[in-house]
Symmetry: C2
Subunit: 410 residues, 2 copies
DNA sequence: CGTACTTTGTTTAGTAGCGGCACAAACTCA
DNA sequence: TGAGTTTGTGCCGCTACTAAACAAAGTACG
């Protein structure tokens, strides 16, 4: 076989622009085999094979030539595609009122290692972010994993394009703190490879649920969640977060859901924020919130342990009605094809799903859009996984340039 | 010249996937010259030249080798790119409470011919749509233009994917009328070439303004407008209409803007619909609406002729405050980078722009997003032009297959 | 008025990434 | 064991580009 030198190319010169979409399909679990990958990409088997081979060569996925049971189907069994669990990871960081958490997240949204940390709430963002980045750097050293980048989930709206935290009310941080810049600087200082990103925690939770959780397959996904205080929202359209032109979209906390309701710090009354958050639940239920654990935890415990207590029952129903009103307003404006609830709202849905669905359907204008499925979040640490998604995104968009070959800007 | 046969190909085999984006740039006026086209497409001059040549060969654009003044610039003057005004057209149709209108619209959103028509409001959609399609067919015969397809602007939400009119309240049509199907059938019956599309009029107005009017260049464009009765909204994201999963997004008419306001047919009180439409304006101004001309026309005339009348002044201010509250709510949820107002809302903006902007900024949560520019519609017949955009879309997406070469589904 | 410079358009020669096709491989079914 | 079915691979060629050199058409400036 007088093979010409060109033969050395046949495998690695194939598949470039289809590389990103293919990786995303494996990442989100929508391409378990090469045959499915071929169909999903809309390419030929030859191309899909070459793309899979190149992704394997990059150390991102594995192609199992497994003899695994192709139960009940005819023909040659497909090789299985899976994320390479020994591959690179993204560093994910989260800060909230109670402390912080760092984790390493591989492709597929699997948490490889995690390091919770508690700090006394500090008014200095640089100190907290430095601590969480250091925890992440320690995880990277311990595991020896390659890092593709870092992502931070912040409990505040993040203004675009500056990356400043607009309302970190419950962190005692100064409004307008340049969190993105501080985080990126700390990541660089810790010697962590790759770019650094920052986003709002509810936005990132929605992104994670869309790719790996209850939102998988939705085209227009609305996510609403409580933290310890207040309510946040997020919208994923066609697989991408809609953050609005200034990063301030889906600030749903101040929708009016009770015209005669409690006054809100925004100047209005009866906002979703003050009517459906954990503090509201405890107050309506007639409990004095204690200072020992977080309000969210207290509300959750109360709802789980004594759901039939009259006060708890009344609080549940009132909050469900208020939340339903807010969701109906959002449905009329956004018309999502799925809604996902997190935090206390998830518990309220769990407590009486029929009531919530009925309120939303009743207050939505057109019956059809009121019939939107409302589901609970399903992922653990979804904000953390979402933060990792930010860091993975460049790799999903263009694996070759993101992983160092063909440097984008030399 | 012993030229090989292959030489005959050098011109028409070039430029395929860049063809659509290039046409869209010329269509929206963002590529006045080949040099700009080169930069906008991010391709080489060779490719841009070949693409422009092919679009010219398709009869869609013209390349002027004009000696026209390249005032003040060095270097070789660029050839000018322009839409071919003798090229094909789209048939645009609009129906509203007062009658209908048909038009032929060329690339660039220019109305080539128009035929207004008045029919007594008929409860039979097939009759009205048949009349407007016939008027369009007559225009096509008169002008002898080639037709790329037809689009209909309906004054109602259009449910996806069925294409039924959900709330044609002011047309006396049955709710749930299959307008898309009826329109498509009439278009086929009239022997008009190309596919037929149907959309909501405010949505289509927003699309037209985004491509050819006050919304040009906006990434997230919010459009709010009154017709004769009621209020509609639309959102254009990244150049595409956001219609939601069931076509029901941006049904903003029932946002609460006055908790103690007028009762609305939706069961609530103080909806944007009943608080800021032309009837509300006339009522607050203390005028009895007459039956002779449309409510919108009466309100417009009143506002223009006697803006300093105390009743008119009070009505203007009250409606501006209500509208501002509704817009602020939308800004908090959608965070658009531009807002465009149509119908009576356009007149209200014109009457006191500062007041409206102040209310929106004041009721928006974060100062920055309250500073969103609010502009009046600038296009005549923007719904009609938007309807034509629907019909042009397949050509913009893939000129070759849409214009008959390479039939998509043989 | 001619020369240098700037910018635009064209020609020619590649090349990356895919499709098409034939064939090989691996299984099920009868 | 062989036919049928589905999956993976090697090879060829096409399409839509890029790269680079060249040509053209103007301005700037002596």
């Amino acid at each position: 076989m007088n093979g010409k030198a060109t033969t050395t190319r046949t495998r690695l010169d194939r598949g470039r622009s289809a590389l990103g979409p293919a990786l995303e399909l494996v990442h989100t679990g929508r391409a378990p085999t090469r045959a499915v990958l071929t169909a999903e990409l809309g390419v030929t088997r030859a191309t899909a094979g070459a793309v899979a081979a190149e992704l394997e060569a990059l150390g991102l996925i594995r192609v199992d030539s497994n003899p695994g049971a192709a139960a009940g189907s005819q023909g040659r069994p497909s090789h299985r595609l899976a994320v390479d669990e020994k591959g690179p990871v993204a560093l994910a960081a989260q800060v909230h009122a109670d402390g912080f958490r760092a984790a390493l997240v591989g492709l597929g949204g699997t948490i490889v290692a995690t390091a919770p940390g508690c700090v006394t709430v500090s008014a200095d963002p640089a100190q907290v972010l430095g601590a969480v980045v250091d925890a992440g750097a320690a995880l990277l050293r311990e595991t020896g994993r390659r890092c593709v980048g870092a992502g931070l989930a912040a409990p505040s709206a993040v203004a675009e394009p500056e990356g400043t935290a607009l309302n970190p009310l419950h962190l005692a941080w100064p409004a307008g703190a340049p969190v993105r810049e501080i985080f990126a600087e700390r990541v660089r200082a810790a010697g962590i490879e790759g770019p650094a990103f920052t986003g709002n925690d509810v936005n990132l939770a929605a992104l994670a649920e869309h790719r790996h959780g209850a939102g998988r397959g939705a085209r227009d996904l609305l996510c609403v969640a409580t933290g310890h205080r207040g309510v946040g929202g997020a919208l994923v359209l066609d697989g991408r977060l809609h953050t609005g032109s200034a990063g301030l979209a889906l600030e749903v906390g101040h929708l009016t859901v009770n015209p005669e309701g409690r006054p809100c710090h925004c100047g209005s009354r009866g906002c979703l924020d003050v009517e459906t958050d954990p503090l509201a639940f405890l107050t309506v239920a007639g409990r004095d919130p204690g200072p020992e654990v977080s309000l969210l935890q207290q509300a959750r415990d109360l709802l789980r342990t004594s759901p039939d207590d009259p006060g708890v029952r009344a609080a549940t129903e009132e909050l469900i009605d208020r939340l339903g009103l807010g969701l109906a307003g959002l449905v009329n404006i956004l018309n999502p094809d799925r809604i996902i609830l997190g935090g206390l709202h998830r518990e309220l849905l769990h407590a009486d799903p029929e009531r919530l669905r009925a309120v939303v359907a009743d207050r939505s204008l057109w019956g059809r859009s009121g019939g939107v499925p409302i589901l609970p979040c399903t992922l653990d640490h979804n904000s953390l996984v979402g933060a990792a998604e930010l860091a993975w995104q460049p790799v999903l968009d263009d694996p070759l340039s993101a992983l160092g070959r063909e440097p984008a800007t030399p």
